[in-house]
Symmetry: C2
Subunit: 204 residues, 2 copies
């Protein structure tokens, strides 16, 4: 489907459909729908979208502390004096920071790896923002590193690697609990999740 | 969800997420995913997306014949001498033209209404590209008007209105068959579709 040309669409419409089709999660049908939506947008709204895209391309840099994407260095979180500097939560991606911020559970800082160790894809620790983590733990301020990589094979391997790297420092290393998702159905939980939930059962 | 601000995202990221969130079918989560995808795009690809958006805003006009959106007037279909000028297929939206072109069933021309008559939303025939249709039927070349509005209440009402408008011209007016969708399951068909399919049954 995605390579299909639509000869009857005008060149500039076809081109926009092609461009939108490249976005993740946007199939050929959605790309068409989006394209005609954009065509119908008032000029100032289309301009505002284009400006927003250009702004991120121009302004976004990596925070020199946590490696998250940011307009300013240090980023708003690292720069916030109200954040607890004794805890660093290590995540794979900037999106994970947003997800955790929404929970309001973590008042400490973050460290963004920008990926996971994945030998299959030829990604080793040196391809991630891993080496930037260790210097952050050396001043003795940090008491706990909360590893919040994804509960996948690669995420767990990355967590293990980080743990081994900082084992000789006097820092507590924790990771997020595994168990049944809230609102989920025991019957539909996969075996691994269920067995982890069973083994990590806690007293009521 | 959509009005929720993410204080920890940088201003330019937040702004892009907001802009993407306005697109149809793009919820707050997809907007975040898309935003970080755009941030990571190589500069030339982001530029290519921006250019494609600006190009449609600058170049797209309405075809003076069929009213479809186009870069050139007349549009590629109206301008194609191989198209059958005796048939005009009337559709609601430019996307419907693309959908019909993919079937390769219709070799005639189109007429795009850009909407349907919808008294509930205050949309009357004068708000559509309806008046542009009649002059196209006056030269006697057109033998058949195929009405391909959606099989909805409003689509049917619009079809009826068009039929009444051209009843006194010597033009055959047809509409697309209603029936069971191919690959669908009789058991899951709604009553209206099933009764239309039953009444329009044809000999094998």
């Amino acid at each position: 489907m995605s390579t299909e040309r639509i000869p009857s669409a005008s060149p500039s419409v076809s081109r926009l459909i092609d461009e939108l089709n490249k976005l993740p999660g946007v199939g050929p049908k959605s790309a068409q729908r989006l394209a005609y939506y954009v065509i119908r947008l008032p000029a100032e709204e289309a301009h505002s979208l284009v400006e927003a895209i250009m702004a991120v391309k121009e302004k976004i840099i990596f925070c020199s502390v946590c490696q998250n994407m940011t307009d300013t260095d240090p980023c708003p979180i690292c720069d916030d004096s109200r954040r607890d500097r004794s805890q660093i939560c290590v995540v794979e991606e900037p999106l994970d920071v947003l997800a955790l911020e929404r929970t309001h559970c973590h008042r400490g800082l973050y460290h963004v790896l920008h990926g996971v160790i994945s030998p299959m894809n030829g990604i080793g620790p040196e391809d991630l923002r891993m080496k930037e983590l260790l210097p952050r733990l050396e001043d003795g301020l940090v008491q706990e590193v909360i590893i919040a990589t994804n509960p996948t094979l690669e995420g767990e391997a990355t967590a293990m690697y980080i743990q081994r790297q900082i084992a000789n420092l006097k820092v507590k290393v924790t990771h997020l609990a595994r168990g049944l998702p809230v609102g989920g159905d025991l019957e539909y939980a996969d075996e691994l999740t269920l067995s982890r939930a069973f083994r990590s059962r806690s007293e009521l």
